[in-house]
């Protein structure tokens, strides 16, 4: 089975502040890491490879130093990697990003499954995965929480659709985005690091993709970020008094009203 996993290098977001005046992330002293959701995409891909054989290929778009996250994917179990790196890709919104990655995947060719993390921790849009699938004309499912088996060229998955949890069989080739429920991602293997020390990472420029380069980067982006700001935090409090039984019933009602829990009150 040929598996492609899309990954991204993002700033490590703990305690990252946003300059409220300029809307710019304050990245000073912040390390770059592999997008945490992509660890789960890699884990899903490597598990499929372990079960069905084949190969895990990773692809990323970013500056040359983003090669670090491809090397990290090698240490988890990926077999080869492609980095789309070119100034022409800079400033891409989700559409231009999806177009570039789709073009790269087309050029790699011969895949059965494309796996993306649910979203990135720097953009949080969750649009790029489904975007790639639409561009490539592939069936796709987002927010997959569990992988099943492949039967008759169909991949069985369980997806969380918000209102319902559905078991779906998707015809290959397809694209899925996976959530953190998919399984604990494995750690980086030092033995894999040694084994893959000489493995190359293929760099492609915008021109290498054989498309009109005006569809990539800032030029190809119909949306622009006007302002980035931290979400507002609510500080209002409610204080309730009553017996334990009354209070627990009331608390359960409130949690249900806020949709923090589901189910019947019976």
């Amino acid at each position: 089975m040929e598996i492609i996993v899309c990954i991204k290098q993002v700033p490590e977001t703990r305690d990252v502040a946003v300059d409220e005046q300029t809307g710019v992330l304050l990245r000073e002293g912040v390390d770059s890491i592999l997008n945490p959701f992509d660890l789960y995409a890699l884990e899903a891909g490597i598990r499929l490879k372990e079960q069905y054989g084949g190969r895990v290929t990773v692809i990323s778009m970013g500056p040359p130093q983003a090669e670090a996250v491809i090397r990290e994917a090698y240490m988890m179990g990926a077999d080869r990697g492609f980095l789309l790196t070119d100034r022409a890709f800079a400033g891409a919104d989700t559409l231009a990003t999806a177009l570039a990655l789709a073009a790269g995947i087309e050029k790699i060719g011969g895949f059965d499954v494309i796996i993306c993390g649910l979203q990135t921790t720097d953009g949080d849009t969750a649009q790029v995965g489904p975007g790639i699938a639409e561009i490539l004309g592939l069936p796709h499912e987002a927010n997959v929480i569990s992988l099943g088996t492949v039967v008759d060229r169909k991949l069985n998955v369980v997806r969380d659709g918000g209102a319902s949890i559905d078991t779906v069989a998707i015809e290959l080739p397809c694209l899925i985005t996976v959530s953190k429920s998919i399984g604990e991602p494995r750690l980086l293997s030092y033995r894999r690091k040694l084994a893959m020390a000489d493995a190359a990472v293929t760099h492609w420029s915008a021109g290498d993709l054989g498309k009109d380069v005006r569809m990539f980067g800032l030029k190809g982006s119909p949306t622009q970020v006007e302002r980035i700001f931290p979400p507002e935090t609510l500080t209002s409090q409610e204080i309730w008094e009553g017996s334990a039984a009354e209070l627990s019933t009331r608390l359960a009602e409130k949690l249900r009203e806020l949709k923090f829990v589901g189910g019947d009150m019976a």
Binding site: D31, E72, M75, E184, L187, L188, S189, Y190, R191
Partner: protein, 465 residues
Amino acid sequence: MAYARITSADLARLQEICGAEWVLWGEAISSDFYHDELSLEGHPPEVVVRPQTTEQVAEILAYCWERSIPVTPRGAGTGLCGGAVAIYGGVLLVTDRMDRILEIDQENLMAVVEPGVLLMDFQKAVEDVGLFYPPDPGEKTATIGGNVSTNAGGMRAVKYGVTRDWVLGLEAVLPNGQIITCGGKVVKNSSGYSLTDLLIGSEGTLAVITKIIVKLLPLPRRQISLLVPFDGLQEAVAAVPKILSSGEIPAAVEFFQQEIIHAAEKYLGRSFPHSTAPAYLLLTFLGNNLAELERAYTEVAEVCLAQGAIDVFIANTADRQEGLWECRGAFLEAIKGMGELDEVDVVVPPNRIAELVEFAESLAQEYKLPIVSFGHAGDGNLHIYMLRGERSREEWLALTEQAMERIYTEAKRLSGQVSGEHGIGLAKRRYLADSLGPEQLRLLQSIKAAFDPKNLLNPGKIISV
């Protein structure tokens, strides 16, 4: 000696000192105060007092001295040897209200705290200003006062030492109510016998600690952990001296077996990133940049592979490390979930720990006793837990006593000590006496008598008088 029982006049006086709401007696005393985290039987104190100031502590002790009432100091009650249990009744003096961080001195890299400050709160407070308090006992809800009283160690002892290495001075109240200060905000001190060092690890038998001066370090900015699987516990533990002599000292070197990972996974409801190997080492490196840390871990990874490690797994992000250390932190709770147990906390020279582990394993076989061990491989401190399992209590107690006896004898043969970090308290008095021998025991008794001639402060702990 005969101790006085608490009378209503005593209660009135204690209420007068602390305020009525901070004195509990009779049925108002929760049974939580009867025991600590691991002692087998409970002892109710006659009265629980919760003073807030040094002066109140001094007045309480002076009064009890006058009346010959025993006083047992207690922090958060998270000890494991019965040290904070009032075995003779009397007053249980709880320091939970003395919980202020009085000063974080960024110029001198020092802090002054009251004894009731919780370790986790203190660690966070200093980290918030870019500083670092290196001692890292597993029990984060313990008080700093309790840490000082037991000379608690923890995970980072291999590189940074134990609580004693970070305490520069103390304020304490003697059993007769006199307040003393020893040591201070000085980095060096050669001024006579160190009473500070004598009070550290004295488990509340010599004085009640009311203020603590500790030193701090700049906070290391980066951390990387390695999880190293081995084919067996022997192989894992035997690799440790090689790691320590490789030139890169990790901040922590822990070891554990597969069984306890599964128990912790069940307890936490989350899965550990790797659990197919029989035994593991878990290492942490602290530093200021990733390149420096990568150099350090590469060297150690090579040593581990040369020593037969299956692989070396690298946790390079905060999330990944949290998954590992959260699991390590849950070991004790997970083991407690396996039923009644008793524990040994012996320490041997780091290069002898493999022999001790092997001995514990052979005992488990011989007595058919479920024994779980894990601990601080890098500093030679082994925690061995003996589980009751399906046995009757009587049979289990008899078996553990025999097994314990033999472990302590073996530890002594390996040039070890009775307790690495939990203390002696009530549970290990006999083993300490055996280990010290008559001359040293007599010296300890003289020291106790010099501080506490009426044997009122935490009587019956560490040594018999």
